[in-house]
Subunit: 887 residues, 2 copies
Amino acid sequence: MTKWVYTFGNGTAEGTAAMKNLLGGKGANLAEMSSLGLPVPPGFTLSTEVCNAYYDSGKSYPDDLKGQVDDAVAYVETVTNKKFGDPQDPLLVSVRSGARASMPGMMDTVLNLGLNDETVEGLAKATNNPRFAYDSYRRFIAMYSDVVLGLDHHDFESIIDDHKDKLDLYEDTELTADHWKVIVEEFKAFVVDNLDEPFPQDVKDQLWGAAGAVFSSWMNARAITYRALHDIPASWGTAVNIQAMVFGNLGEDSATGVAFTRNPSTGENSFYGEFLINAQGEDVVAGIRTPQNITEAARIEAGSDKPSLENAMPEAYAELQKIYLILEKHYKDMQDIEFTIERNKLWMLQTRNGKRTTKAALKIAVDMVAEDLITKQEAVMRIDPAALDQLLHPTLDPNAPRQIIGSGLPASPGAACGEIALTSEEAERISQAGRTAILVRVETSPEDINGMIAAAGILTARGGMTSHAAVVARGMGRPCVSGAGALKIDMVGQTINANGLSLKVGDIITIDGSTGEIIKGEVATIQPELSGDFAQIMEWADEARHMRIRTNADTPRDAKTAREFGAEGIGLCRTEHMFFDEERITVMREMIIAQNGDDRRKALAKLLPMQKSDFAALFEIMSGLPVTIRLLDPPLHEFLPHGENEMVEVAKAMDVNVSTLRERVIALTEANPMLGHRGCRLAISYPEIPAMQTRAIIEAAIEAAEKTGEKVIPEIMVPLVSSKAELDAVKAHINAAAKDVMEKAGILIDYTVGTMIELPRAALRAADIAQSADFFSFGTNDLTQTTFGISRDDSAGFLENYQKLGVLEHDPFQTIDVDGVGELVEIAVQRGKGVKPDIKLGICGEHGGDPKSVDFCHKTGLDYVSCSPFRVPIARLAAAQASIHQK
Amino acid sequence: MTKWVYTFGNGTAEGTAAMKNLLGGKGANLAEMSSLGLPVPPGFTLSTEVCNAYYDSGKSYPDDLKGQVDDAVAYVETVTNKKFGDPQDPLLVSVRSGARASMPGMMDTVLNLGLNDETVEGLAKATNNPRFAYDSYRRFIAMYSDVVLGLDHHDFESIIDDHKDKLDLYEDTELTADHWKVIVEEFKAFVVDNLDEPFPQDVKDQLWGAAGAVFSSWMNARAITYRALHDIPASWGTAVNIQAMVFGNLGEDSATGVAFTRNPSTGENSFYGEFLINAQGEDVVAGIRTPQNITEAARIEAGSDKPSLENAMPEAYAELQKIYLILEKHYKDMQDIEFTIERNKLWMLQTRNGKRTTKAALKIAVDMVAEDLITKQEAVMRIDPAALDQLLHPTLDPNAPRQIIGSGLPASPGAACGEIALTSEEAERISQAGRTAILVRVETSPEDINGMIAAAGILTARGGMTSHAAVVARGMGRPCVSGAGALKIDMVGQTINANGLSLKVGDIITIDGSTGEIIKGEVATIQPELSGDFAQIMEWADEARHMRIRTNADTPRDAKTAREFGAEGIGLCRTEHMFFDEERITVMREMIIAQNGDDRRKALAKLLPMQKSDFAALFEIMSGLPVTIRLLDPPLHEFLPHGENEMVEVAKAMDVNVSTLRERVIALTEANPMLGHRGCRLAISYPEIPAMQTRAIIEAAIEAAEKTGEKVIPEIMVPLVSSKAELDAVKAHINAAAKDVMEKAGILIDYTVGTMIELPRAALRAADIAQSADFFSFGTNDLTQTTFGISRDDSAGFLENYQKLGVLEHDPFQTIDVDGVGELVEIAVQRGKGVKPDIKLGICGEHGGDPKSVDFCHKTGLDYVSCSPFRVPIARLAAAQASIHQK
């Protein structure tokens, strides 16, 4: 018999924190806290296996589940000494999702379950608080109808609003028990009207209905989008946690709150959280009321006049403090906790490793090493390499002039600038048009997820540091300012008003998520500071890693940035980017429309000094480190104008007949340029090109070596090779030109010649090719395109759909496809090394900066990865994690 | 010590016919004939290894070659009892190339070598024929100067022409010994003037010079082109044959000729050849004088009044007859022989397996089985499968009206029609423009090779059945009419005149290479007759082969043709071709611009009956045989108009706003359509499409099964799959639609679902994919494109250059790339069978009709190949050869 259900509570539990895969994060940690003797309301967890069984059998449950649930309910009844459905003193439960990975707000929850027309009366008597009882009942009906019965929660809110209008009241708190009683009747009538069935009165029916709805919400659109964004496989499933309700809204001696054991924004080692008196947990997270500080220190710092929990409920606070220290020591990580105080009694509802900004993650990791909680390698493993990105980008220049128009909470650090967008759709539209948007909302909800992904930054008028907007933005690394109370948003007029200044949709604003400032227009930025905790973690990472990290850089500026970020050479210099400069493109075009080798050579002779100076600059910046220069790669038509007007203009500038130019454009046009006359095919057709580029490289190397006095290590790379014969053909031109330059200069440069492995055939023929190549550099962008037969430029539409449908787990252009592309890389490594054991192996596709792909590269035995400058630290950390992980 | 030189002559030889790779075809056969005791002028062969050593060391010879050559010359001197360079009675030699495969006219030859100012006098005395001696000397100087010294032979001809003008003479035969003496002096003066060096007088220098020139000619442009066309690797090299001269031009008792042991055009078992009295061998081949028939029977048939060899030289004829019978029995194949009669003494200069038309090849093979010379399997192996193509295409309808404007010799069978082109360049231009050309020349030379490749047919005014034009055209399967004497070609006026009718360049003519007719305009054609020898060989082939042969057919007409050609089912029905029909494309476009699933379904509902009737027709034609139908493959934009004018027109026809249409066209445009939103990606994005196509297939199968009473075997094929998940996603739509149709009809159709393997990733993931696939069909066109990263549409330019440079041996789109694409096929076969041992495996790329690729498919263990209807017999034969070969 499969065990589907795991109970917890009363200082014991059937599960542990280690059983996250089976019980979900929430369920496993509730079990763990219970076993630790902490005050956890009793309950039980339906495992993720129930979820998978539910979907596998077309949304029905295993036969033996019912009996196990009945037993678990009985257990909770025993611990609480209440009965589920008891008309006198009913047991009420919450029903919550809980997946292996946290997916905040993505799935459905039902609270106060167990109320019906009878038990509500019992609750009123038992709590001696009829208003509380009917308030809970109306909340339950609305929530259950929305989540389980598929009705719209706005309709229920409208019913309440109508009542308030009639009564001329403004706040829910002004409504009495009798008002809620009437509203409950109207709610039930609304359900019958819409569904032709009464609201369910059987509490067991309620329980199964809610469990089914939570399982179903695993496949709702929001959850699917979130999983796609966070690389969570659908096959993990969610657990369902059913737990006795405790109430923070039973009066002034009750409260509910959330807290972090350290500051999740800065990482500072101080207890940090918010609470609301006489409220349910959802009220804190939703950000509808602005919450109070937990500690007195935080209250003073925030300048709040509302009492802290430390002052308001000193006993509960003392217990909470004791518990958080136990939890942090136990989990050896910063915890994100939820608690409720019911009539002065503290209950723990959740603990989990807290989400944090990258800055905080670095500080916490470094601090915990100092506190002897974790080792250096554990500290390195604690940082999400991809999240470093947040730190590496510019922040606002403090000296830049700025017109501050308002402020809010510094909810997620970093600066962002963009056009005001008042809806998610608008933010998506702006982003798709290639511009940047700031999503401005009163408060965000899970339905805004796509807009938050699309926006460069998020600004909300309501909500605290733990509001939906703040939590999600931090997770994504988007700058966010929340709770900017002075901000008025006019959806009809499509304007926002900040302290009297009106801005309309499309106007540019800047937000600083590190200070909470909102600024009109664009503000100058400065480079990030890469010292302190960041430098410490990087130092530990560099001690641990085995692979070298190089950069893809075409300009001195990129090369310099990358070297500052710790790049150990250039893995890919794309020479074509150097030709797009205005003065050069004309010469390049002369070369392209040349009718014969002589004219081509004349134009190339003009390009030679330009290329040479580019290369010399790169060699100087990278002196002592290897620099891989790829020969001209794109098809020549990319350098020519295409529109008729542009052609006329260019022809004029070039002093050629427009028909000559047009003919050449037409002759060079290709059906599939990605698979066209490019790469080494160009070098073979026009040997003058590799000859000129080699001259430029070797002459520049001689010059840079003389200037710096250091060794210059040029690696000449031949792109798009599919056979040894191709490489040999190009290599002959390279070697001839290099020999000529070196003989004339009387200086020997120790250059190497290698090849991209970016076509399936190159991977398969790696044993041949290795005979002629000093190095392989895997061009996984093109290798992915050809292995899948997918043009990256044309795939956005269907790849997104593929991920939604689960046909693809990852976008293969972001994370290397280990099963297909990866096998070709492994084949090439094995065959290449078979022939030449010391062949140098690297990767220069964009996967070089993707942590999962870096892990693959390490496993496969590559010597280095090369990535864009800003990804260098990410790759350094990912390479270290791969090394540690491998051990 | 390496043996570089092999002697022959005098009834013995150091080589044999089996040593073709070492001695070349000519050298090996000279050795063999000599060993057989046939009269062969003595000589020796420098092996192909000398050629390779020559190129490997930068055009210099091995050290020990000189001694071996000296010994061999001494051997020839002994046999002939003459001395090389002897001023009294000099030994003269010919120096000829001789590669492993025959390359007629592609490389250089030097005759009469050994003449100088002294030896010419000796020759005059020894032959008692000063005119012959000086005529030979002037021929030698001109030939040697052209071939070895790099001067232009036209300049030497001009010198002769000037003399004739001065003397008022018209024919070379009118010039006397003294005339030639003067001309010889002028020739030598011309050499000194141009080269600042005298014409070499040392006969050993002459010998080494000529040998070097022949080796060098292996790499001349003509030879490279010829090798590319005939798939001959450059690494084979050529041998050089140095042989004592015998003279057919010593008077009326001397002659020279070429003959085939059977008729090379029809295959008839009758001795067939031509000769010229008092001529050198080159005169026959060059077609300058119209030659005489060898046999009396042939003379009578041709209505010639010139005596046959049989009559003119009965003794020599009798010996020739005896020899040819010995040779045919010895080689067990039809021989192409060259001979010279010097003062009534017959000498054999060459024998080799004769080139023949495919019709002749079939007849000879069938006859030789009947004559017990060869086995049935040997007969099957004798036919070049690719050459069958000649027989399978239409010939002129004998009943069609035609305006015959002239006639010539039926030099290469088949009919061709096209624009008159007077130069090779013009023929190439016409062909590149997608039209057909007839190359019309006075006579062709090896320099015309590119024009002959480009032309649909060849017509010459001069030359016999063994002229250059005739031999090369037969080899290539191009129809050819040669020696149409009445044809006047005016290169200046760019016209031709045939019996008074003038036609200009660009006018259409038709030639019938089977009858020799030249016809004005285009003539109706009829289907080929596929019985007789062809049917016999096919029957033997079918007995021998193991693979099944299917066809790629989209229309009932193609399917019918293919079934007549022996196709055993359809391996690929491309459904998209069915949508281009005028009435359908509008509905297709409605489907494409539909904004939602509903509108799409409405349009698809209109397409359903059309598709159904197409499929029903195919099922009926192929009843009892499997029919593989591929779901819609191309990107949707292929069905939309692209030019602005066309868009306006189409929008009008569709009754939609032109801007709606334009928007859709722009939205669907792709950078690389080959790698775009196509194949199964379409089916996943628009599930309505596979659903409609499946309905059409299953409904049609039900209808056809009822109508024919035979089993209908539909195989539904999903294109462009890269993973099992994709196939599963599409399969779900297919199975749902099929189930629905079958349930409604109450009939079960035994359909299967399989996939194309046409992406590298599909090959690598074949083990997964096989779990969901009933069959794999290798789409080697796309697999080649993606494995090489080469767009077939864009590759013409650089692939041609690649072959010229030797970077690629074959065009991978014609012959499968065994090393790269082939490995992926093997991987997929092995992994697919590992999971599903009985998975059905086939190929449907164009390689399915290429004999070398068919051989690969057999070796790899495929169950069938599928090819275009006209290639079915080729594939049947190739599959048989693969089976026999494998044993």
